[in-house]
Symmetry: C2
Subunit: 230 residues, 2 copies
Amino acid sequence: MGKKSRKQAAQGPSKGTQTRHLIVDRALNIAAQEGLGVLSIGRLANELKMSKSGLFLHFGSKSNLESAVVERAALYFYDYVIAPIEEKGLQGIERAWALCDSWLDFLEQRILPGGYFFTGAYFQCAGQSGAIPRQIRQAVRDWVDALGQALSQARRRDEVRGGVDIVQAAVELNCVLIGAQWSQLMAYTDHKSARLTILAHLRDIASEEIPAHVFESVEAWQAYLKNRAD
Amino acid sequence: MGKKSRKQAAQGPSKGTQTRHLIVDRALNIAAQEGLGVLSIGRLANELKMSKSGLFLHFGSKSNLESAVVERAALYFYDYVIAPIEEKGLQGIERAWALCDSWLDFLEQRILPGGYFFTGAYFQCAGQSGAIPRQIRQAVRDWVDALGQALSQARRRDEVRGGVDIVQAAVELNCVLIGAQWSQLMAYTDHKSARLTILAHLRDIASEEIPAHVFESVEAWQAYLKNRAD
């Protein structure tokens, strides 16, 4: 690290970094409600009362701006959904549960405005080629991989039956979450039933080490986890 | 019907109607790949080599254009997925199955380009207020209602067990379809496994009138339906 950057670190982020941060947050706010496709340097310049040429200095192209927005959305998702679970050091099936629970919480707390940014963006462009669709697929794949890793760990800890297809189980948990979001947007169901469906899926793959009745309600499951820890 | 319109009917749609049709199809093509939000009269005028004022004559506003696009997408969906099943007069559980099968076929045949237009649009804006989100929610609700009606009919025909929550069962079938689309975009699974999951769901709600083993494969199910009809 050179002298100049050490000085900057002591002073906090540079003005340029702060401005860039502000622009990306504003752009993410628009994209989460109206889709990535509507982003334009002209509109952002107008909303932020900045010059188009100033914005161009930060991003150079619409595609760089879109990429920064997807990266920022993934960062918010990581910070809110995954990081707290890593900090707590949760393991195995408890970790898989906590990830799903935290995902639902991320929606309930409306950390991002609009519907679910990644799901909307994914259905809209995951079938297409190009850098942005690839980046969106990767963000979604990272999430399913995180679920899969928790389930693999659960398998090693004998919390999941042998013979369970771990990748398939992770994909199914994710589909339950997406279905829950769909149903909630339609006001057919709430997230309480989503959590029960997640528990039912975990019961189906759990080994006999875990009594089946603890998957019957969120309270029973949490009591089981607490007793086990004590 | 007045003289003028009878004359028009004999000659086919008017020039104005044809032009409008062309514009909406082009707009749907863009929206299905890049999202409704990107539509603009300026871009369409440019792509169709028409004047912006000419396009304005047809739609008046971006919101009218978006509304026409959602209506057209719903029409394609109805024509491809639902109408053939109504024409065949399929009833009850066979009708519920045929609707799901036809939905998957609609995706496989890529009747609309891009990902799944309604799913992307739904996740993007169903949580928002306004005429377009309402129209999208309605189109999706119509579909789930069609599934629910087939299941209600199946219940009356004793093909579905008493005590099954029909709305919940329709929502779950739809969530399986959305999950199948998600998995296929990620190349985790193909639509064959989606059809098996649909059959497993139908088995879970079916009455004892239908032997459980016929839900084990698409071939066994089709053979059962054929035998029953003979």
